[in-house]
């Protein structure tokens, strides 16, 4: 029986890894494992999409294809901790139709409770899953990969409750192959959609999120009670809006200024749901509070800058100027305070990521913490650190190899491995032209 299974498995993996060898060894590289010490002359052995071994003196199996990697630094594949990569650009959902029975208090008819049930959940698509929307042909996948990203936490982004994210490997392979974990969280915004539709204000959105969260708790209770003794009980209504929230292991909330971060930390504590904040530029002001809260922060690598069309005669407030000056010092402040944080590309083009990262390092962030924020910390925040984020035996073979150091802007990214498959970066093409790329699995 056993040999048969082995044969079947081999056949299956051959199908997935067409033309790939049994094992690949990166030899003689500087290996930044993140979870352990840096190996100055290390070898990483990959097999069947996983890391089989890593060390300075490991015996290479006979079937291993060896890549000599002297002068190359190998890091765990970079993770973009918040992204829409691979997801279609969908228009914002239309505001709910204003029916006489809906938000207004119509003098006629029975009094309807407001905002209850899916039909009264404005700008809410909690049930939409990034994993289901995935488009492996999205050109941004290739661009991200070329910048050293092997994974991304991708979330639908429209509405107040936008939907459930997925942790993706950026292989551009089949949808199902790209998903490492799903759902990994619920993406919420505090966006308002005009004065005429509830919620039409920031406080309205916050109150709405609070109500949906409470409804989710109540729904859970009611459904459980009904399931245990259905006979003689009123049946609770199915509500996909709260179902979507309940199956999301964490709630992502936006917060950029110190006031917003403080506000969302208190809000998250009140909701009693695991939360992650994104934005975080002014966290340098309250790094200790962030650390104490234990709530992780996703920091937007698109550092604030003066708007291109800003009126040069319009004076800016000291607060605005300070934020622009000091935002890149936020990661250093968080490192010092012992807060949990990871990076996301935000509006930064994939090729400018290292430049943005350098500003954080210039502002005092240690290189080790910078690498960790782009790898293991992001994996930990999304609960996938048992699979990705560091170079350890058993983890998914996601790696990035840089000629020199990741922190040298000019150092070339040689190749990345995703699920043990090697990809070479696309050369930077002039606008309009698309560069050719190495097909997955190809080894020169």
């Amino acid at each position: 029986m056993k040999p048969l299974i082995a044969v079947l498995f081999a056949a299956a993996s051959a199908a997935v890894f067409a033309q790939s060898p049994g094992a690949i060894a990166l030899r003689g590289a500087r290996v930044v494992t993140v979870s352990g010490p840096v190996l100055e002359k290390g070898t990483v052995l990959l097999r069947k999409g996983l890391i089989e071994a890593v060390g300075e003196n490991i015996d290479l199996p006979k079937d291993a294809w060896v890549i000599e990697a002297q002068g190359v630094t190998v890091y765990p594949g970079l993770i973009d901790a918040l992204s829409t990569v691979g997801l279609p650009e969908t228009p914002a959902p239309a505001p709910p139709a204003r029916t006489p029975a809906a938000p207004a208090f119509g003098p006629q008819g029975p009094v309807e409770p407001l905002e209850q049930g899916p039909q009264f959940r404005p700008f809410t698509t909690t049930w939409v899953r990034a994993a289901d929307l995935l488009n492996p042909a999205d050109s941004r996948i290739e661009a991200a990969r070329s910048a050293g990203f092997t994974s991304a936490a991708a979330f639908p982004a429209n509405g107040i409750f936008a939907g459930e994210g997925a942790f993706l490997n950026l292989s551009g392979q089949k949808q199902g192959r790209m998903v490492v974990a799903s759902p990994i969280g619920q993406y919420a915004t505090l966006a308002t959609h005009g004065f005429g539709t509830y919620p039409g204000s920031l406080m309205g959105v916050i109150a709405y999120i609070r109500q949906v969260s409470l409804d989710a708790g109540h729904y859970q209770l009611a459904v459980q009670a009904y399931a245990s003794h259905p006979a003689g009980r009123q049946r609770p209504n199915y509500d996909r809006a709260v179902e979507g929230l309940l199956e999301s292991p964490r709630l992502l909330l936006p917060a950029d200024s110190a006031v917003q971060i403080d506000r969302m930390l208190r809000f998250a504590a009140e909701l009693k749901r695991p939360a992650v904040l994104y934005g975080g530029h002014a966290a340098y002001e309250i790094a200790d509070q962030v650390a104490k809260s234990g709530v992780p922060l996703l920091i937007d690598l698109k550092w604030p800058e003066r708007a291109k069309d800003a009126d040069p005669d319009q004076p800016e407030s000291m607060r605005t100027l300070e934020l622009r000056d000091r935002a890149p010092s936020t990661p250093a402040a968080l490192e010092k305070a012992g807060a949990r944080f990871a990076f996301y590309s935000g509006g930064t083009a994939a090729k400018d990521i290292r430049k943005a990262l350098k500003r954080a390092v210039d502002a005092g962030l240690s290189q080790a913490a910078a690498v960790r924020a782009l790898t293991l910390s992001a994996a930990e925040i999304y609960g996938v650190a048992d699979r990705v984020g560091s170079i350890e035996p058993g983890k998914i073979a996601n790696l990035v190899a840089v000629k020199g150091s990741l922190f040298d802007e000019k150092a070339k990214i040689e190749y990345v491995f995703i699920d043990g498959v090697k990809y070479e970066p696309v050369p930077e093409a002039p606008p309009g032209e698309r560069g050719e790329h190495t097909e997955p699995g190809g080894l020169e």
Partner: protein, 470 residues
Amino acid sequence: MKRTVAEAFACRGEVRFAELSILFLLALPLFAGPATVIQNATILTITKGTFHGSILIRDGKIVEAGEKVLTPEGARVIDASGQYVMPGIIDCHSHIAADSINEGAVAVSSMVGIEDVLNSEDPDIYRALAGGVTTANILHGSANPIGGKCMVLKMRWGKDVPGMIFEGAPPGIKFALGENVKRAGSPGGGFGATPGLRYPATRMGVEDVIREAFLRARAYQKEWRDYQAQVDRHESAVPPRRDLQLEPLVEVLEGKRYVHAHCYRADEILMLLRVADDFGFQIRTLQHVLEGYKVAKEIAAHGTGASTFSDWWAYKAEAYEAIPYNAAMMVRAGVLVSVNSDSAELMRHLNTEAAKAMKYGGLNETEALSLVTINPAKQMGIDRRVGSIEPGKDADLAIFDKHPLSNYAKVTKVFIDGDLYFDRDKDLEERPGKALRKKALEDKLKAQEKKEKKKPEQPEKRGEDPGGPQ
């Protein structure tokens, strides 16, 4: 009549602060911190007369105020010779320090609250301080008949949001009547008008919305009471769904949340008082209440306070029948009256707003200053803590260089909880340095921007270097 109203207000406060006061008395000898003494000032206590003397502050509280106060050893002494000390000004109607004000898309927005959107970095807080204001009632806007929950703040500039909140102040909610509210239901109604039109469009509709909301609140209250009864009988039951819109209205019905109602016309004022009577709750204050002088007796009889403008009117049809005698006439009729700002600018000179009630209506100095100190404190249920200079109260004090009822008076120092939050001399002194720091930062960022812009051209420029001719 006036006494009865005042007593009614005082009694409510007493219950809330009884515990706090006891705690304070117990804590005093244990945690006696450094003392501050303000000396040689004219002290306008509001409730205990005016005299020349000193105030002893310790642990954020006023310990003693009198003509002869012993200065403890090591006390910080502030010489206020020729100056005037009054209780920190209290504004019963403000919209500063919040990132959103109106949730106008629904007629009943009691699910929203100012607490969720407070912004402790709003510079209007500091500007209010510079006008002697130490406490303000931050209200939801007037877009709908039943608005959002409000929040009482102390102007503790530099503190975070939780640090600004007036701890223990009774919760409140904003109601609104009249034009602003019904405008959203009128075709082409201007500000706040919604494309789909929102009920109500008339004053009749406003009353209906409020009544219907409270009928729903009663039903919701009953739902929870029934559930509680089931629990008490040890029956298994699923608790009702929490409804954040109706919860604050149940609190109003149970007297646990104050209603601050924006209104103008006499007829709608009487309407609201009738609705409140029917449902058995009290309107804590009528806000604006520009026609209050017409129905002052009725307002007083309900034990309802009035918070009005000194002389701001005619900005819309319902604000035409206003007179500057309004505050004084209501005071004489036995109404508990305050003068508010509703404006970040007006907020900076509420002392002179109060003074206008002396010219129009002949209030005396203490009565006028009460309009912006002890009276709003009573209206907000915080008079056990603030609103006058009395031993045991919070050391929230404003020092003016001249009599605060004078047009020429300027605030020199403001204390909250005994801490100095505004110092005019220090502010003026720091301005040049701040301007320099800002200029330096601007230059630094401009230089950075320039450098960023230049970068792409670098290769060409390198070619032009003298060291590398073509």
